[in-house]
């Protein structure tokens, strides 16, 4: 069976500035995969290039939806959602002037889904994220950081994706909230069969929940492996400390 996501030989460039070079990585069925590395290593650039939010200078991105392999590097960002790729950027993750309920609705609204099916999906997500259910009429701007992160993830799940792309889901979260959210990600991965590619600064937490990880350093892949092997090898220290 093909990989759910296969990035091959990807270069990301802003004008003349190379942010990442020759990146190849895969996410397989059932996996949570982390893309790690120190600040400025280019991991967010890689994720944003996969989403199509920054231009891909070279290389291919393929997505397998269970039946067909799609060349998504030729597609505009808005086409990805309909194929089954949901994404959450790192900043400005919720729509502040919409209610929790509206935020969730727009997660599926533009994928050709209608009222009844959206409402059912939303109720299901309120069970998974009870705090959102309690605050369904509140404006997203009034939620705490952790609640906003949950809302962003729940909104991405409204699309019933096969693949979830997360850019720094730990950003700005207190340790307890982070543990809760990462626990939920594991549940979503196992129960809802959503594969996850996440970019993280918090290496320890990311390795705790992911099956495999890729580590970047100054715009290139440094090494990869299963989370257990990476933790045991001690190579992370060298990647981060030079």
């Amino acid at each position: 069976m093909p990989a759910v996501l296969r990035v091959a030989g990807l270069d990301v460039q802003y004008g003349g500035l190379v942010a990442a070079r020759d990146i190849s990585l895969e996410v397989h069925r059932g996996e949570i995969v982390s893309l790690l590395g120190p600040n400025g290593a280019g991991k967010t650039s890689v994720l944003r290039a996969v989403m199509g939010l920054v231009p891909r200078a070279r290389g291919t991105v393929e997505f397998f939806d269970g039946a067909t392999v799609h060349r998504v590097d030729t597609l505009a960002t808005h086409r990805l959602a309909a194929l089954g790729i949901a994404s959450v950027p790192s900043l400005r993750i919720v729509l502040p002037r919409m209610t929790v309920e509206e935020n969730l609705e727009v997660g599926g609204l533009f994928l050709g889904r209608h009222g009844g099916s959206l409402a059912r999906e939303r109720d299901r997500l309120y069970e998974l994220f009870p705090v959102l259910g309690r605050r369904r009429r509140a404006l997203a701007a009034t939620l705490s950081g952790g609640e906003q992160r949950m809302l962003a993830i729940a909104r991405a799940l409204m699309a019933r994706p096969r693949l979830l792309l997360l850019d720094e889901p730990s950003l700005g979260l207190a340790p307890l909230v982070l543990t809760e959210i990462f626990g939920l990600l594991q549940r979503i991965n196992a129960e809802a069969e959503v594969d996850v590619l996440l970019v993280e600064q918090n290496v320890k937490k990311a390795l705790e929940i992911s099956h495999r990880a890729y580590v970047m350093r100054i715009g290139a892949l440094d090494f990869q492996g299963s989370s257990r092997d990476i933790l045991a090898s001690g190579r992370l220290e060298s990647a981060y400390l030079g």
């Binding site: 505009a76 994404s87 400005r92 002037r97 919409m98 609204l109 533009f110």
Partner: protein, 291 residues
């Protein structure tokens, strides 16, 4: 007392119209962070669409309104494609190019017509209704109030309930999230210009009905009034636009009725100066926004 009621009703219709114009500015500003200064020209061209059908072709008023709105919508589409999109969202460039488009459209209409005010057709013979208290209102006035307020509320419902309205609101908050959620942002931007121009066309036609005339520069005049409402209410603030639009229309109307017709614009621009002096970010600042 009866004059107060009459002026109030006039003001309500005019004010709802100002609110509609300000909402249209807000729609475009929301999705693209630019002002479409050719919006006034769109309003004007809607009224000439009506004249074209009624005077030029002897058509009925309903058909004329439909044609006027279609021409306004098409104008908005062309402005977005020809004058806005090529500039890639550069605020200042778009401000200049849309002002240029407005001058072009106005002068085109001026060349093609008499360049004089034209009598604007009426959909029906006026009848007067006597309200308790002695005020007389015409059936036209009643219609104007109902249609203007209806349009205003309809627009709010459009943004709150329809898929396109929600897409517009999403993009106004984060174009990037919009793309992640599957919205074809470029398409929605074009549609936003069309919707705003349809609104503008309707506002122009309502104004033509209210004053019984139209002329090539009516759009600049109305567009500027709508812009004042936008600035006083705070850019991006839909609810503020509704409140300030209505308040301005009513205040102007009362000033005309009780002080003198030369004071109409004094109210709008005097109020603007005061707001800019004391609350430069608008009366409602940034806090209450619908879009």
């Amino acid at each position: 007392m009866s004059q107060l009621v009459e002026q109030f009703i006039n003001g309500l219709a005019a004010g709802a119209n100002y609110a509609i114009i300000a909402i249209a500015y807000n729609l475009v500003f929301g999705v693209l962070n630019v002002f479409n200064f050719a919006h006034g020209a769109t309003m004007m061209i809607g009224t000439y669409g009506v004249l074209l059908v009624v005077q030029g072709m002897g058509g009925g008023f309903t058909v004329a309104v439909v044609v006027g709105l279609l021409i306004a919508g098409l104008t908005g589409f062309l402005i977005e494609r020809l004058v806005v999109r090529p500039l890639g969202g550069n605020q200042w460039a778009v401000a200049v190019s849309t002002i240029g488009a407005a001058i072009f459209i106005e002068n085109l209409v001026r060349r093609l017509t008499h360049a004089r005010p034209e009598v604007f057709p009426r959909p029906f013979e006026l009848r007067y209704l006597s309200l308790p208290g002695g005020a007389d209102v015409s059936t036209l006035q009643v219609m104007l109030v109902l249609v203007s307020v209806g349009l205003m509320l309809g627009m709010v419902a459009f943004l709150q309930r329809t898929r396109l309205g929600k897409a517009i609101r999403v993009i106004a908050q984060s174009p990037e999230l919009g793309r992640c959620l599957g919205i074809d942002v470029a398409r929605v931007v074009t549609l936003t210009f069309v919707v705003a121009s349809l609104l503008g066309g309707a506002a122009g036609i309502l104004n033509g009905l209210a004053y019984g005339s139209t002329y090539p520069y009516i759009g600049s005049y109305l567009g500027l009034k709508g812009f004042v409402v936008l600035i006083v209410a705070g850019v991006g603030n839909m609810r503020g636009a509704l409140v300030i639009g209505l308040a301005l229309g009513i205040a102007e109307s009362l000033a005309v009725g009780f002080v003198g017709s030369t004071y109409r614009d004094f109210v709008a621009y005097g109020g603007l100066v005061l707001v800019l002096l004391f609350r430069p970010s608008g009366l409602f600042g940034e806090e209450v926004r619908v879009v």
